[in-house]
Structure formats: structure tokens, C-alpha cells
């Protein structure tokens, strides 16, 4: 069993005993059987010598326990890899970057602290999943909708911190987060925004507080452990209209995207317009019939939705149909839901835009670049990624593309994995690295990345000789001088590990 670098077995054992004194002996795990559950079942390095596996796991139940765990970690220089519910599959799941970290599992911190219907917000701890908050709201008849990503068992806090997106008008979820409580790497406790004012009545109502807004420091970050988060929720609309626009030609993606852009800019389409290839194309085998240009012939659709009084959503949809009506062969579909709404009975295709959590399948090595909001960029990305994939004997025909922001498109690209096929899975990592490098040469960078690719992705964010990384490391050294928190997270390393940054090149 791995132990953290620089510690003897005896020192590690002593540290774990101290952790047990804080959280209880039953919540410190070191048995092979339990640590098995902390591995990433979808790791491209599964069962290989360099698979990042935890040396132990510790599961605090309170903020005070988190503070004490962090202080003990500083005493012994224990590296801590933190997760909220550990379901970040496709990006590393529960596992960290290095092989020796102690996993800090926050799932037991699962309290829903407040759901305020009048002011439309919730305050939760990191262990609360989308399923759990959804159930809480439904059981109490609270007329608020969540914004949910694909994996409903993920953490609202964790997914938001990783820049996760959903499908409602609150899809750019970071924009709707309001107020945090954070344990810093030295064990200190901070509340951001108005939360710095003891007894503040507006912690979840006004984001900024006084002075520099620091919430962004804790996104995709090894600078702190978020123990509470406020999130604005969407009032249940009077009418929900779920719509799809379909085109049949492969190149029709260009006008499909381009005509959506001004609609998103003007907020006439307010939710995450999601562009999808029609038919089983994806990155795996068995794609649909190929056209003369080598691409599938199934065409594309885009899903959008409208929310509000019926006469308004009807007119919004009519306007959008007018915008697309001149496209040859365009098809429109819509389904309308009115009060009283039973969202669990909605058509499955309409649930995500109504904030109903589900579970998506498929966990490749994700490498999802951010593109300009143009159809030309989307098609170019698919063509470039496919050419690269062909060098590895594969094809790539595009996946879902999200306009969660009115100004950009995120393509959820992924290199497929095969259970137990070491050579294929290592090749998948190499393919994703090639996408990173060659995408960067065209100005595209990933919005979020798998732990296996964090150093490679960090390397492309290199303006002015990696000035942003230097700033991140300056912050890291100031906030976490012992380097205990999430070493290697998004390419940010503790000082003493920096010279051999990246476990695979160490």
C-alpha cells in the first residue's frame, strides 16, 4: 500500500491515528477493500503501476473536523486530495493526480442548510448530490428548479466548482453561485462576499461583498476546501416549452449554430442551446452511414427551451422558428408543460432542461475545448479532431456542443476507453494529448480536464512565459506553504514538487 512521500510507515500510522481522533476511527480508511472504492474505475491507467490510488481516506462530517484534518495534514505534510461526492467520472472520478495522497471524502457533509423559496436560493454542503437536493425540493413542494448536469449523483458544490454546466437558463452555474465558506490550507475558515459580515442577511443575495471577490480562487483549485455554497435557483415557470430544431445535412451545422448566436446574445434563447449529431456517431465504433466527405449523414439538431407565461414562450418559439424557417428541410418539434407540473412524468428528453437529474453513461477521457460561437469553428474542430483520431486508427465525428455561455461553445470531446485494454487506453491518453496540443495551435483550450491531462493542458495556457501559472504558484506558496492541498490539481504543484511537475514525466 502506498504511503505519502517523505513519511515513514510509523509516521503515517501516527498521522492516521490523529485523524481518527478527529473524525472517529470508523471514518479513516486504509483497508484494501475500502480503498478499492476510492479508485477511479474509469482510469486510463487502471490496474497499472502508475494508476493514482489513495494511500488512505478520511471522511469528516463537520467544518470543524475539516479544519482539524487540514492542520494535522500540515503537521505531517500529508497530501490531501479532496472530493465532494467522487463522481467526477471522465475527469478522474474520486482519484487524484499523485499516487500517495490521502483522499479527503466530503460525502458525509451532506446537509441541505437552507432552501429559501421567497428569495430563490439554496445553501448546501459539498456532500449534497443533485438527486438529494432535487428530492428535498420535490418532497416539500418548493417551487424552485435546480440546474443539473448529466450525472445526478454528482455534488452541486463539486460540479459547480469544476465549471460543470446544466441545461436551464441557470446553466452557466458559476454565474449563479452566491457566497462560499472555505477552509484554507492552514485550517483557517473564510466566508466570501456578504458572508464576511457576521449575521449578514444577504449572504446568498449579493455576490460581491467588499474588496476583491475571491470566489474564483476556489474554482478548479488547490487553494481551499469549500464547505458551504449558496446557489441561486430558478423559480418554477408558469409554462415550460421544450423545443428542438433539426437539420439533415452535415454542413448545416454552420447555419444551425450561427443563427443561434444572436438569439443567445439577446437572451431570446436563455438556456444552454445544445447541438447534437443525430444518430449514433460519437467517437466509438459503429457510426452511422458516411457521406461523400467522410462524415455521417444524419445531420444535427439543437435543443432549447422557453420558460414563463404561455403567451410569451409561444411568441419566443415563433420568433426562433422564423429565424430558422429558411433553412432547407428544417424540422421543428416542441412539447409544452403547464401548471401543475409533475416533472418526473415529463418526456425523458425534456427533463434535463427542466432541472430533473438523471444519469448519463459513458466515461471517456474528456478533453473538451472552448470554441468561438460559430458553426465554422464547430465543424473545423470536428474535422481537426477526426484527422488526429485517424492517426490513432480511430474516428471522431463530434459530440454534444453546448452554448451554456451566450458567447462560446464547449464541445464535450472524449477519447474512448476499453476496460482492461492497457495499450488502447494509453493510446487514448496520447490521442487526448494530441487534441490538446493541436487544438491549442488553433486557439482552443479545454474548459476542464481529466487528471491524467492536467499538466499537458496547463502547458498550453502559456501567455508571457506561463505568467498565469507563476501567479497560481505564487498564490499556492502563500496560501499553502506546506503544499498539502490537492498537489498537481490543474498543473499547480507545491514548491518542492514543482521541478518534476507531472507524475508521468517525473
Amino acid at each position: 500500500m502506498a504511503i505519502p512521500q517523505g513519511l515513514t510507515e510509523q509516521q503515517f500510522s501516527t498521522a492516521l491515528n490523529e485523524l481518527a481522533g478527529v473524525v472517529g476511527r470508523d471514518w479513516v480508511f486504509r483497508s484494501r477493500e475500502i480503498l478499492e472504492t476510492y479508485r477511479d474505475v474509469y482510469s486510463p491507467y487502471r490496474n497499472q503501476a502508475d494508476e493514482p490510488v489513495a494511500s488512505a481516506a478520511v471522511a469528516p462530517a463537520t467544518v470543524e473536523q475539516v479544519q482539524q484534518v487540514v492542520r494535522i495534514a500540515n503537521t505531517y505534510r500529508l497530501p490531501l486530495w479532496v472530493f465532494s461526492t467522487g463522481r467526477n467520472y471522465g475527469y478522474g472520478g474520486p482519484a487524484g493526480v499523485t499516487r500517495d495522497a490521502v483522499t479527503l471524502d466530503l460525502k458525509r457533509m451532506n446537509r441541505i442548510l437552507d432552501v429559501n423559496e421567497e428569495h430563490a436560493y439554496a445553501v448546501v454542503e459539498p456532500g449534497v448530490s443533485f438527486f438529494e437536493l432535487y428530492r428535498y425540493v420535490q418532497e416539500r413542494g418548493i417551487k424552485l428548479w435546480l440546474d443539473v448536469p448529466g450525472p445526478g449523483w454528482g455534488s452541486l458544490v463539486g460540479n459547480t466548482l469544476e465549471h460543470g454546466m446544466g441545461y436551464t437558463p441557470y446553466c452557466d452555474r458559476m454565474a449563479f453561485q452566491c457566497g462560499m465558506e472555505v477552509v484554507l490550507p492552514n485550517g483557517d475558515l473564510v466566508r466570501t462576499g456578504m458572508g464576511a459580515l457576521p449575521g449578514a442577511s444577504t449572504w446568498q443575495m449579493y455576490k460581491h461583498g467588499l474588496g476583491p471577490n475571491v470566489d474564483g480562487l476556489f474554482y478548479q483549485s488547490p487553494f481551499g476546501i469549500v464547505t458551504k455554497m449558496g446557489m441561486w435557483l430558478m423559480p418554477e415557470p408558469e409554462t415550460y416549452l421544450s423545443c428542438a430544431i433539426a437539420v439533415s445535412g452535415w454542413d448545416d451545422l454552420v447555419p444551425l449554430v450561427n443563427r443561434m448566436r444572436p438569439l443567445r446574445h439577446a437572451n431570446l434563447v436563455s438556456n444552454n442551446a445544445t447541438f447534437r449529431p443525430r444518430g449514433p456517431v460519437g467517437g466509438g465504433p459503429g457510426g452511422s452511414a458516411l457521406g461523400p466527405n467522410g462524415f455521417p449523414t444524419g445531420g444535427w439538431d439543437v435543443t432549447v427551451a422557453f420558460y414563463g407565461p404561455e403567451k410569451i414562450v409561444d411568441q419566443q418559439w415563433e420568433h426562433v422558428r422564423d429565424v430558422y424557417a429558411t433553412l432547407p428541410g428544417v424540422e421543428f418539434q416542441s412539447r409544452k408543460y403547464k401548471q401543475p407540473m409533475n416533472r418526473d412524468a415529463f418526456d425523458p428528453a425534456d427533463r434535463s432542461q427542466a432541472g430533473v437529474p438523471g444519469l448519463v453513461q459513458g466515461h471517456p477521457v474528456f478533453m473538451s475545448p472552448v470554441l468561438p460561437f460559430t458553426g465554422e469553428a464547430c465543424l473545423e474542430c470536428i474535422q481537426v479532431f477526426d484527422r488526429i483520431a485517424q492517426r490513432y486508427g480511430r474516428r471522431y465525428f463530434g459530440s454534444w456542443m453546448h452554448a451554456d455561455s451566450p458567447h462560446s461553445i464547449i464541445t464535450t470531446s472524449g477519447a474512448e476507453l476499453r476496460a482492461g485494454d492497457e495499450a488502447y487506453n494509453r493510446q487514448s491518453v496520447e490521442l487526448a494529448k494530441a487534441w490538446i496540443r493541436e487544438g491549442a495551435a488553433r486557439g482552443w483550450g479545454a474548459y476542464r480536464i481529466h487528471t491524467a491531462l492536467m499538466d499537458d493542458t496547463r502547458a498550453i495556457y502559456s501567455f508571457n512565459d506561463h505568467a498565469l501559472l507563476r501567479l497560481h504558484h505564487t498564490l499556492k506558496d502563500a496560501l499553502d506553504p506546506n503544499g498539502v492541498l490537492a498537489p498537481g490539481k490543474n498543473g499547480i504543484w507545491p514548491r518542492e514538487l514543482r521541478d518534476r511537475r507531472g507524475r508521468r514525466s517525473a
Binding site: 472504492t37 474505475v41 471522511a59 461526492t85 463522481r87 458525509r108 445526478g152 449523483w153 444519469l359 476496460a419
Partner: protein
Amino acid sequence: MRPRKGLAVAVCVATLGGGALAAQTAETVDTGRRIYANWCVHCHREGGSATRVLEQRYQGKVPAVVEERTDLAAARIVRLLRTQTPGMTAFRPTDLTDSDVEAVAAYLTRNNALKR
């Protein structure tokens, strides 16, 4: 709360498919039903992603909807819930305690007696 290692009150003891013995009470089965609804049913409902996979695997020999099975062994369910597989990820003790896992097993074996 510490995961319980055993169940305190056994109203009946059922012999389960794998030969393991587990105490079943109406309360335990009901707890298992609730946990199953919270954690499992998303994939294992009628038409769910796991059900579709199991339909292919079983080809009608046994029900693909796991709740309809009457031949599952409690010990096997407990082991599956703690084992990582590409088809179903493991549940950690912070997700489901030992007593939660046992309750799910009790729920999924509640109808085994019907088969006998």
C-alpha cells in the same frame, strides 16, 4: 453515525440464494427499498441504462429489472455494492454504510421465498 455491523432485531431469518443468512425485518426491507429508490433505480428502472445492459446479458432467462429477481444472493449483492466494475461503480461507506448495504440486500432478496 457508525455503519452497523448487524441488525439488532430479526423478526424472520430467510435463507438466501448464496447460502448466506441475513436478518430481514419489514423495517429493514423498507429501508432497503428507500435506499434503492435513492441510489439504484436511476439505472435499474424499467428502461434504465443498466436494465438495458442486463436485458442483453440475460436474454429473458431472468428479469433484467433487478427488483423483480427472486434468485439473488444477499452476500453477492453486498460484495457487488463494494466492488468497482466498469458497469457499476462501487459505493463507499460514506455513500452507503454497511447497514445500508445490508438493507439493500434485504430488499432485493425479499421475494426469494416466493421462488421456493
